[in-house]
Symmetry: C2
């Protein structure tokens, strides 16, 4: 059997991306948007990327059931059975567990790459080379592998990974995970050269991750073990519908990665951003000589620096006397907000919903 | 003959309004726009207003020939013969002269109110009462009457009129016209109570204005006198096409009003703005408690004061941390500009045309 046949991918695309409002909206979250005007949405780009090393039929999309139609529309290449529908939002651990049980029912030798749908990868070939290296590694060693990215700045928006000495071929045992640090700590991490960004992209053999669930999140594993006869049958949907909402809301990092002792990190450098905030988008965007980043639209800046501007294509903006702002328009909504205050956007959106109704969420 | 039959109106609607970019564009200047979302453009509002005291068939529109189709579309009430087409842009004096010659050919007793198409009048009944008072005055006294507006602030964007002592019923002889003053002088004017804004709305009998042209702008009068047999005939268009481009580019204020000795001012107070700039629009707009003025769209302001916001209807803007800006979108163009720098908009537009082409003019 071709080793490729054992390689799977699970694309997690159920989030709301509320920090990217007004681009990202409840009924059309950011993974379904063509952020950069390249003609493909983020989830489509993620699919395209993995499809170069994973057979189409082995790519699964885990998403909230509200987005099933969007997934089918944007990814006509996959069948309905490749869409894993989450009845409720329950963070990454339940989602990953469900996908693992389904895939095990199909192929108990599966090696699985798990990835968010909405990340930006600039150096695709380097990325794919690392994914293959990781898939090969987990096929041989029963490990939980995470992709660590070498930091290029003291970013406070990411979690960090510290590794132990030793290791080969850029794969090292993980010593500790650290939640998002404050700026001073992030600076220490960055300058030490010993810390890596936690990309949230994982690779493991299906048996390794199922063992980890049984060990560290037994409430989830015990419930899902009851459905072993149902995965990949017509009975699966009702079974998931019943059990999924009961799962605790917990991330794979917190539930398993920070606890297991077979966690490894593959050190990589493929131009990565989680596109978690407008600021992260600004950081990775090309800028003009005044450090203005413009996506999609035409623009003229006068006495304006360090802005992120994104309007629908064909639009033109003339901006004078503005520094350090986000100017973003999408779907009839214009946001003008200081970059430094972007963490408050969620509150602005809540205020808008109070004033004008939930259709603006 | 009904005295009403002698009353005429000339609406001057040939300007570009370039200071109101991006609302006002070369192919759709501001007089043709529904600035306030009331359902009628400025020229339509001007027509509606005068049509309450002037018979429809006595209302003439003077405009650049490029805008003939727009006038016909927006004012289907009038006939083609009521549209006076200027072959080239030549300021107000040639336009007013042409209209006077045409109207004289139809009615040598005509009393004419001449008005820009794009001014805002808030107190319509008061305005119309003054127009009628003025028409009655000029029918009896061979005078050049201008409407003077009592200032409510030391505005530097308007010309001022000083009148002589005496006069009756709010009509006084004009002592002097003053061009746009600097702020210190405007403050003196405002506080003295003796100066009035020059509204650019004039009333006179057709013979009085023709006499004034023959006296003060004989080059224009001599040429137009050659066509006395042609006005209101099929030969008029060719005659105007030949002579109009030769006229000097001169305003009625500079060419006649500042020189003639039969100039009177009707003092009025009808909530007037020439809508000459974004700032003048801001001044007359309703504002929220933070002095933000919003036209048409929905909005949420956070830590933002003294802004003028106008987006197309149905749009929503969320604006945080912005003070004293113009935020204006029209026709796929977004302008964000400090209110204090609005006089530079013309230059921004020129720069845009250099960068992206003349379609943005």
């Amino acid at each position: 059997m071709d080793i490729m046949r054992d390689n799977y991918c699970v694309i997690m695309g159920g989030g709301i991306g509320s920090r990217f409002w007004p681009f990202s909206r409840e009924n059309r979250p950011k993974q379904f948007l063509d952020f950069f005007g390249v003609g493909r949405s983020l989830i489509q780009q993620t699919f395209d990327r993995f499809n170069q090393v994973i057979p189409t039929e082995n790519i699964y999309i885990a998403t909230n059931k509200n987005y099933a139609a969007l997934v089918k529309e944007q990814l006509p290449e996959i069948t309905d059975s490749q869409i894993l529908l989450e009845p409720t939002r329950r963070n990454t651990a339940p989602c990953i567990a469900y996908a693992a049980y389904r895939i095990q029912a199909l192929n108990p030798n599966a090696n699985i790459a798990v990835t968010p749908a909405d990340h930006l990868i600039l150096h695709e070939q380097n990325f794919l080379m690392n994914i293959q290296k990781g898939l090969n590694f987990v096929a041989k060693f029963p490990s939980l592998l995470t992709l660590g990215v070498r930091p290029n700045r003291p970013e406070t928006g990411y979690g960090y990974i510290q590794t132990e000495e030793g290791g080969t071929d850029n794969i090292q045992k993980v010593k500790a995970f650290t939640e998002k640090p404050d700026y001073e700590l992030a600076k220490v991490f960055f300058e030490s050269g010993e810390f890596f960004w936690n990309s949230g992209i994982f690779i493991w053999n299906v048996q390794t991750i199922l063992d980890a669930f049984r060990m560290y999140l037994p409430e989830i594993a015990n419930r899902l073990d009851q459905g072993l006869d149902l995965y990949n049958t017509p009975g699966e949907a009702a079974f998931i519908e019943e059990h999924y909402p009961v799962f605790q809301n917990i991330s794979i990092d917190y539930g398993i990665m920070e606890k297991a002792n077979n966690v490894y990190m593959l050190m990589a450098d493929f131009g990565w951003s989680d596109l978690g905030t407008w600021g992260s988008l600004y950081d990775i965007s090309e800028k003009d000589e005044d450090q203005n980043a413009v996506l999609k639209c035409k623009s003229l800046f006068i006495e304006s620096e360090n802005n992120l501007l994104t309007l629908p294509e064909k639009k033109l903006a003339v901006i004078q006397g503005l520094n350090d702002y986000i100017i973003a328009e999408s779907d009839e909504i214009l946001l003008i907000c200081k970059k430094a205050d972007e963490q408050r956007i969620k509150q602005f959106v809540a205020d808008i919903a109070m004033k004008y109704g939930e259709k603006y969420l």
